[in-house]
């Protein structure tokens, strides 16, 4: 399925830096429409920065990035605004607006970017909250929720605008086993409708089985890009340490 799609994300010899936090050196890879790709690596391997570059939230110091045909570094404000509406991003922290209820948080992008009547907004928001299993908390503020529930609400907010690409930073953060199963179910469902999914993961997880490809990263460099079944063939100390004997 993956190879047939058009390239929706192209990183070409990209270098970038977030100070001492992370850096990327000469990273190139492509994600095609409908693919599910995981950026895999330890903390400070550069996967989070790579994810932000892929989403157009950071600009490289060298090389070029194209997301849905747009170069975020050279795009106009109007092009960036349009791009943002086609991309959903779930941060490692839930990043929900703390003084708004979950319902209003999820409704926010619809109210801001569309002219939908409030009844249609309500229908979409409640459907998304129900899909993510947090509809019971729709009138709660994010601060009172468990991390997993808050991240599921953040996922609902990212999905409510029906994006072309979904980015999830540090998928495993705050999710318990049940949340993770639900998370995977949601990704699978939207993956089947053609959503491109790019996630970053810092520990081995059953989610790898759902991915089309893993992009393995170490010290700001891309070590290998391969299907999960072929990881064992990658000859790299980080990969051996990361995946152990499995």
């Amino acid at each position: 399925m993956a190879d047939a799609g058009e390239a929706v994300i192209v990183l070409d010899r990209v270098s970038a830096s977030e100070g001492i936090l992370a850096h990327l050196e000469d990273v190139s890879f492509t994600v095609r429409r409908g693919e599910a790709v995981a950026l895999v690596g330890a903390n400070r391997s550069g996967k989070g920065l790579a994810l932000k570059l892929c989403a157009g939230l950071e600009t490289p110091v060298a090389g070029s990035v194209r997301v849905l045909g747009v170069d975020p570094a050279a795009a106009s404000d109007e092009e960036i605004l349009h791009l943002r509406q086609r991309v959903g991003f779930v941060f490692a922290k839930p990043a929900l607006v703390s003084n708004m209820s979950l319902y209003n948080n999820v409704a926010l992008p619809l109210r801001y970017h569309t002219a939908l009547p409030e009844a249609a907004v309500q229908e979409k928001v409640m459907a998304c909250l129900a899909e993510c299993g947090v509809e019971l908390f729709h009138d709660h503020l994010p601060g009172g929720l468990a991390m997993g529930h808050a991240r599921l609400a953040a996922l609902a907010r990212a999905l409510v605008v029906e994006p072309d690409i979904l980015f999830v930073d540090e998928v495993l953060v705050g999710l318990d086993a049940a949340d993770l199963v639900r998370f995977r179910g949601i990704l699978e469902k939207h993956g089947q409708r053609g959503l491109t999914i790019v996630v970053s993961i810092n520990a081995p997880t059953a989610l790898f089985a759902f991915m089309d490809r893993l992009a393995l990263m170490r010290d700001g460099r891309l070590v290998a890009v391969c299907p999960p079944a072929e990881v064992a063939r990658v000859d790299d100390p980080m990969v051996r340490e990361f995946f152990g004997n499995n």
Partner: protein
């Protein structure tokens, strides 16, 4: 020493340019024809007016009453001794309506709402809420700064009028136990001393203070890079800079219109 002065001057100019640019962007959003986020902006404006204006009524009222009492008692007892008792109303208008009303109201708004704005935006930065808004294509200036600016301006104008009324009328009624001036004579004197220009300049001053408080405090809140320890640091900078800016503005307006 010269290098230090030069560096501080450059930093000061860059800071002023940043604040002015944020104010310009927020002001521009006010007249943007886009319907984007209008509902959310109105909701934030209403919340800001409620918190900055309505919730501050007791503290502003109490301060106005006490300050009005002090000024009227002092002037009302001292002026007759030098044969200038008829100047009481003029002194009240000059001291309370023109200067202390707008300025002290602004200080209360800085202390209550300015710090709240700076803290709220700083914490939003730390919690990646602002990154989340930007990732959704939601303008931080339109969603966060512009509504706070409008709310602060509306609230501070109303609060200043309220301050002046309480200080001038309430202050006299309390001070009456010590004064011999009849209330009707006092009110006639106030009516005579207070011009339309005084009212307009007071409102203009208040609007400028509201704009300054909101923009500077939002600027400092958004300047938090990502650590919670930066929030109180930016907060104290915001308070000092806002108070200084309000004083400078007050001098500029007063000198421009009254000198």
């Amino acid at each position: 020493m010269i290098a230090w002065t030069g560096r501080k001057t450059v930093e000061g100019v860059a800071y002023a340019a940043d604040v002015l640019f944020l104010g310009y962007l927020a002001f521009k959003e006010l007249f943007s024809p886009a319907r984007r986020g209008r509902h959310e902006a109105l909701r934030t404006i209403a919340r800001q007016v409620l918190f900055t204006g309505v919730d501050a009524l007791p503290v502003v009222g109490a301060l106005a009453l006490m300050l009005g009492l002090i000024v009227i008692i002092q002037a009302g007892l001292a002026l007759p001794q030098v044969g200038a008792g008829e100047l009481l109303a003029h002194i009240v208008v000059v001291a309370l309506v023109r200067e202390l009303g707008p300025l002290l109201t602004a200080f209360i708004v800085v202390w209550r709402s300015g710090t709240a704005m700076c803290t709220e935006l700083g914490n939003m930065r730390v919690g990646q809420e602002i990154d989340g808004l930007e990732a959704m294509g939601i303008s931080v200036v339109r969603f966060l700064v512009m509504p706070r600016m409008v709310g602060a301006i509306v609230a501070i104008i109303c609060l200043t009028v309220y301050f002046d009324l309480v200080a001038v009328v309430g202050g006299f009624l309390v001070a009456k136990v010590k004064l011999t001036v009849p209330f009707a004579v006092y009110l006639a004197g106030i009516e005579d001393a207070l011009s339309i220009a005084d009212v307009v300049i007071t409102i203009v001053k208040s609007a400028l203070f509201g704009l300054t408080i909101a923009v500077i405090c939002c600027h400092h809140g958004l300047a938090v890079a990502g650590s919670t320890t930066e929030v109180p640091q930016q907060n104290s900078r915001a308070m000092l800079n806002t108070v200084a800016a309000c004083l400078v503005l007050d001098i500029i307006v007063s000198v421009s219109f009254y000198a």
